[in-house]
């Protein structure tokens, strides 16, 4: 279980990001040392049309693609709207803020401090997912998902 004292922050750009911009930003930000967990949020882009008359037909979308962060590849399933970080200490947030302010020049981005991820499983999580749920993803995604979290190493 994650310790509750780890600080968290969320980066919210004024516009939603293209996969190319997200890739460039994430590659900048992962160079900051001391990031424990990172979560990319945004509205979902499904692979097939989920409802309506065209339900079930494929949904080609240029915003849904695989990006490479560090040496890890991940499939973006959302249009990136915000990125949440859990970091080792408050100094890391300042580093993230510096990188963010330097990166977003066309439009601004806010760096919010607060608590954005669950730090321990709640009773509801226990009822839903049982005692063997992966603690690193509790409160972030459905722990029953088959895909494991991406581990980013080889920061340059």
């Amino acid at each position: 279980m994650t310790e509750s004292q780890f600080p968290q922050c969320r980066v919210v750009p004024l516009r939603m990001l293209k996969p190319e911009t997200s890739e460039r930003y994430l590659n900048e930000v992962v160079k900051v040392e001391g990031i424990r967990r990172m979560m990319v949020n945004g509205p979902s882009i499904p692979a097939v049309v989920p409802y309506g008359p065209a339900r079930g037909s494929p949904n080609p979308n240029s915003n849904r693609r695989t990006i490479k962060v560090g040496d890890a590849t991940m499939e973006l399933r959302v249009q990136v709207g915000s990125i949440t970080f859990e970091v080792e200490d408050a100094g890391v947030i300042e580093e993230i803020r510096k990188v963010t302010n330097a990166f977003f020049t066309q439009f601004p981005a806010q760096v919010l401090e607060g608590k954005f991820m669950k730090t321990e499983a709640s009773l509801v999580d226990y009822c839903r997912y049982g005692p063997n749920a992966d603690p690193s993803v509790i409160g972030l995604v459905d722990p029953r998902r088959k895909e494991a979290p991406v581990i980013i190493q080889g920061r340059k």
């Binding site: 990001l17 293209k18 509205p43 882009i45 499904p46 049309v49 309506g52 065209a54 249009q79």
Partner: protein, 253 residues
């Protein structure tokens, strides 16, 4: 003295635009050209060039009951021919889209005949006979009530009107029905998300100044704040007070 409708209160540009759109005597400014075939493709109800499928025989070929209302009301072209009832639905971004669901319904009720609009928070659908719909849709896409980036034809999966815009200024669309290519917005899917055989161009997104000057949405961050329009606030407060008082069913002693 003949009655002149005021259409709505307010002194701001937003209020003025709302009145303009509602007033059937005001000719909406034509901003772009879209062909009839393009409209049919975006709607996706029938193949371009094919005959209109019918729901009943043309009125001229059937016996109509003896009804005084039918004598007064002239049928629209679509109703005369017995067309099916079909729809177009729009989602309007909250970031200064030139129209919005309630506004669309008011506008269409003043301007069009034989329609059945449905108003929701983030989308507005209008149903009518197919051949009338194509005319109305063409007008709704070609004139100042449409912006290629901030308004989009979405029959289903409409989510996006309240989200931040994308980097290129387009409203989020899960199905990416339209894409920005070389500065021009092109529909690559019809309104329900079925891929089109060819791209349908609906013109360039309008610039910021135009969008602000043609907005019908109050937005304290992106445009005109509602509270800055004193007359509008006064009117809304009056309606609110009257409705609330009426809720108590006041009686005169």
């Amino acid at each position: 003295m003949a009655y002149t409708p005021q259409y709505g209160p307010g002194t701001s540009i937003v209020a003025e635009n709302r009145r303009k759109q509602m007033n059937p005597n005001y000719k909406l400014e034509k901003v772009r050209d879209v062909t009839d075939e393009d409209v049919v493709l975006i709607l996706g109800h029938r193949a371009p060039g094919s005959a209109y499928p019918t729901a009943h025989p043309p009125l001229a070929e059937q016996q109509e009951p003896d009804c005084p209302i039918r004598k007064i009301v002239k049928p629209t072209e679509g109703a005369k021919a017995g067309d099916r009832v079909r729809y177009i639905q729009f989602a309007d971004s909250m970031f200064n889209a030139p129209s919005q669901p309630y506004q669309r319904t008011y506008m269409e009720m003043y301007r069009f005949r034989g329609i059945d609009p449905g108003t929701l928070s983030g989308r507005q659908i209008v149903e009518c006979r197919e051949r009338d719909l194509e005319q109305y849709a063409k007008m709704l896409i070609e004139t100042e009530v449409f912006d290629p980036a901030l308004v989009s034809c979405r029959g289903a999966t409409v989510h996006g009107h309240s989200l931040r815009l994308a980097e290129d200024g387009m409203m989020f669309d899960m199905l990416q029905r339209c894409v920005l290519k070389d500065g021009v917005v092109k529909y690559v899917k019809d309104q329900i998300g079925e891929p089109l055989d060819r791209e349908v161009s609906v013109g360039k997104p309008m610039d910021d100044a135009w969008v602000k000057a043609h907005s019908t949405i109050f937005h304290s961050l992106a445009g005109v704040a509602f509270r800055d329009d004193k007359e509008y606030v006064e009117y809304i407060q009056r309606i609110h007070a009257l409705r609330t008082k009426y809720g108590f069913m006041p009686k005169e002693e």
